[in-house]
Subunit: 366 residues, 2 copies
């Protein structure tokens, strides 16, 4: 029951309470920044080139925020605010520079901002190997590259780049991705005869398209953002793209969530020059080279099974060097600093032609 | 003096302190969101279509943050965090939709994000009158358009759009803008023979260009972001653009801050459907039509002088209707709800052929 005569009083009291909260928030954020500055001070006293950004520490903070968030804000939104607070505190010392697979408006940019916050400086690159090169050259601190899509599987360029690189994986970002059929203000919805999208998105929505637009021409373009941009000028065209591209180009939704698999998601890796200590909930990625012999794969996997290490992904790629016949990319739960994992990897190394640990890193929080 | 043996202890203590602060921050942000939800509840009880976003209230909060910020974070960074916290609290009820003059990577996008935070949904438009149209149609809550540049003066399209529109100005954003000469990784710095930029940026750097690159071809393009994009593929070209475009396209700096005037800045207006109550430090914009008679301008300005109202800007534009000869756009300090301002405007209205108040709004905080 509301009485408009007492509303102004309620509002005044609420606003006074908000002002008090804000003063307290400001005091605490400042004290947090002060603590972060002291952490940096302690670190640089020992090592002038010390790294201030600690992926395992940030993962722990965000995990706690997600677990303990009391509401009413969604826990993702609360974690986003903490991401920004940490980003600001870190930038006070030295802003993080991040290269990602561009162009803007893509999921990879979204993943980069989600992981590093807006106080980081982010740079789009034209290709995955450029991202690797910028990180290796020290022009940026970290890179963000797509590595896995639940429908299409692995992003091959990224795996190939890892085979040539000495970089470490220092984190992962998982984006749940929804695809929509989008049109512009000039589109005639009953006359859609052409649909633009990235080949991966077409693959992820194939059944839906076969059922609803069997006769429309499917034109593959370099990104969903590009697809969204194109339909702005063609009355007979639509695009398949996500919410971000829809917002960027002000498009309308013809149909929402048209992906064939409801759990559609894309995984991105953060790559950097340093290895990451355990955060408590970690994953490890290794690449293993095996000769193409009968039983080779079984021999490779057996130690994981025996030590009850939880494998989360296995990908096979033909070797490019000729020296190896096959390489396997394996992800499993655990950190290379854990004794059990050390034992497994020793056994695997003994059976393989070659093995390389790409990195142990916190399981994606956000 | 640092002793590496006690550093881990220091670090552990600092991190424990940060954890305690984070718990407290989370509790306070949640309570703030709860209060904001209650404010929304009180408002919708009286009016189901009530507007939750109050520009004057947000300006007051940010002003207080800027004044009271104790450091070590810069006050702009602290205000940015509060902007995000308010943006998140507001989005809990109903996310704000904002149209801006696109494309992405432009200063107008930067102004929109600076003013509304990242929980707002922002949509780039191809032209200034499209921004007006989207706000008028109710497709978005607010629009962001450039209105003034300290070197080039007024952005004429924006003023023309105001003459036809019933929208109110509900805020302003001022960006201090630096221009840099930028090159890509393939540019041969000693062979730069072509420079891309927006015509306004060329105008703002003319003297510097005449001194340093008198023979380079100057190619005007639609935005500085476009200029930055173009130099990625031409070894003999450079671009004039700001930090954001440099970051977006991963360009290197040939020369920094090349603008001829060190106080170079651009002003943007926030346009909406509602008028804004006083925030305590406000500005008012009016448009006045006068016949082209001797002494007309003096007659128009005299009341401002007599009431000691501080005029901050005066622009003259030829009337497009034919009915008026000239229109003047005037900005002054104060709010139309203040008695002194009411008196001035009454006198001005008596002397003018026509007068329209475009809006009273908080002086830009960030």
């Amino acid at each position: 029951m509301s009485d408009s005569s007492n509303s102004p009083l309620d509002l005044a009291a609420l606003r006074q309470r908000i002002d008090t909260i804000d003063s307290e928030l400001m005091r605490l954020i400042s004290e947090r920044a002060e603590c972060a500055a002291q952490v940096a001070h302690v670190k640089t006293a020992d090592d002038p080139d010390a790294v201030f950004y600690r992926p395992e520490r940030e993962a722990q903070v965000l995990r706690r925020v997600m677990e303990e968030n009391p509401g009413p804000l969604h826990r993702e939104e609360m974690a986003r605010l903490f991401r920004e607070i940490m980003s600001a505190c870190l930038a006070l010392e030295r802003p993080i520079k991040v290269a990602y697979l561009g162009p803007e408006g893509t999921f990879t940019q979204q993943a980069a901002l989600k992981h590093f916050g807006h106080s980081a400086i982010s740079l789009p690159m034209a290709a995955i190997d450029e991202v690797f090169r910028e990180v290796e050259a020290g022009a940026v601190n970290y890179g963000v590259v797509p590595v896995e899509n639940s429908t299409e599987g692995i992003v091959n360029n990224t795996l190939d780049s890892f085979m040539d690189s000495g970089l470490h994986i220092s984190g992962e970002v998982v984006l749940r991705i929804h695809h929509h059929l989008l049109m512009s203000s000039i589109t005639r919805q009953d006359k859609i005869s052409r649909i633009y999208s990235h080949p991966q998105s077409f693959a992820q929505c194939r059944k839906w398209l076969d059922a609803h637009y069997p006769h429309a021409e499917r034109v593959a373009v370099s990104s969903n953002a590009e697809a969204a941009r194109l339909v702005k000028t063609e009355w007979h065209s639509a695009a398949i793209a996500g919410d971000m591209a829809a917002q960027l180009y002000g498009l309308e939704y013809v149909a929402e969530k048209i992906e064939d698999r409801p759990d559609n998601s894309t995984r991105f890796l953060i790559i950097g020059n340093e290895s990451v200590p355990p955060s408590g909930t970690d994953k490890t990625s290794v690449v293993v080279a095996m000769r193409n012999e009968p039983g080779a794969l079984h021999a490779l996997l057996e130690p994981f099974h025996r030590y009850q290490v939880d494998m989360t992904r296995l990908e096979t790629r033909p070797s490019r060097t000729g020296a190896w016949n096959y390489v396997f990319f394996i992800d499993f739960k655990g950190h290379v600093d854990q004794p059990g994992i050390v034992s497994v990897l020793e056994e695997v190394r003994g059976r393989a032609q070659d093995m390389k640990v790409l990195g142990s890193y916190p399981v994606g929080v956000l």
